[in-house]
Symmetry: C2
Subunit: 215 residues, 2 copies
């Protein structure tokens, strides 16, 4: 009985890692859609987002059923409840990646990122991809040190966002209001995407320690 329950817990954990891997694919497609004006990558981001949603809903149901049937306690209960929260974060990350791709798709074949800001957007994309990758390790190994490292690394994204907003608001902004709007949305979507990986990491620390670390 206990063995079967452990197996089911393990499966849910594996599926969470897989869902997280899909968010990495989605954000990577989103970034390519934006930086390379790549229509196929934009379509792919939307597909992966839909896939994350479907799988997330199914996983949600399994976790809930397991809580109801097995009535777990302590760390197992924390893992399942955190898991349900993590699914919500991962689905949101999928949506944000799809939003990023959608900004590109709406303007296709015009590029949406002015030349001068390509480096920042590219860094934000790389940071988001790296955080989605790190979150998989955090989820897979329930590694508290890796979780803290991910949380600290997020300062980098905030710094990039500040630089992005400063550029659009400077007097030297040459690309007009419409472009500033696109850049603002992209920056915000990347930042939120990364925030969700921080939430996941905080929750993994909660599963391990029973305490949610301060924000």
């Amino acid at each position: 009985m206990r063995e079967q329950f452990d197996e089911q817990l393990e499966e849910i954990r594996d599926d969470l890692v897989e869902l997280c891997a899909l968010t990495e694919v989605a954000i990577d497609c989103g970034t390519r859609a934006v930086l390379d004006t790549d229509r196929a990558a934009a379509d792919r981001a939307a597909e992966v987002c839909a896939d994350i949603d479907t799988r997330g809903r199914e996983l949600d149901y399994r976790a809930l059923t397991l809580i109801a049937r097995q009535q777990p306690v302590a760390q197992d209960l924390r893992a399942l409840i955190s898991g349900i929260h993590n699914i919500a974060d991962l689905r949101r990350m999928g949506s944000l990646a799809a939003h990023i791709a959608e900004v590109a798709r709406l303007h296709y074949p015009e590029p949406v990122v002015p030349h001068e800001l390509r480096a920042i957007i590219s860094d934000m994309g790389a940071a988001a991809t790296a955080q989605a990758a790190a979150a998989q390790e955090v989820l897979r190994f329930r590694d508290q040190v890796a979780a803290l490292e991910l949380i600290w690394a997020d300062d980098r994204t905030d710094e990039l966002l500040r630089r992005l907003f400063a550029a659009t608001k400077s007097d030297e902004w040459l690309y007009g209001a419409a472009s500033a709007v696109n850049i603002t949305l992209l920056g915000r979507f990347y930042e939120r995407f990364c925030d969700h990986t921080v939430e996941i990491s905080r929750r993994v620390i909660f599963v391990i320690t029973g305490e949610l670390p301060d924000e």
Copy 2:
């Protein structure tokens, strides 16, 4: 035993309604900060947001403890797990209201909304306040019809957001890129605020029926 458990469930529900009432206060302060260049309202929004966070965390802990100790099933379990999700949504709504106030505070005493867009921002503020108020009723009475009405009403916010983005992106936009960035962020914050009330309503339907309605 059962009686005491019912009481605790009832208390958690009441506290959720109260948390939701605080988000209504917060968004109302945020809107006043933005439309009336009201510094005190901006400070108040930040305070209420901090209060929502503290209370939300405490409520989270109580719900989790109740699940662990009482091992509820069926509707009670759904109510508690949905409750934990709702707390996350309500805390996020508080943050979004504070973000709105922060946009105003950063530019104080300059107004951030061009005259021509005041009506749309004011409508978005009113819609957000109305949805936070409606969500309290949905939570209090677990009313499926009210929940569906709230979900349908959200189309109005999406329409307002489209009009806002269209204005900033039009060739007739006269207020520069920095202003377009502020308006984009405000629009997005209001829209997300309202989205969370939709999530809460969907979850209340789930508590009642056991099925999460499609998005």
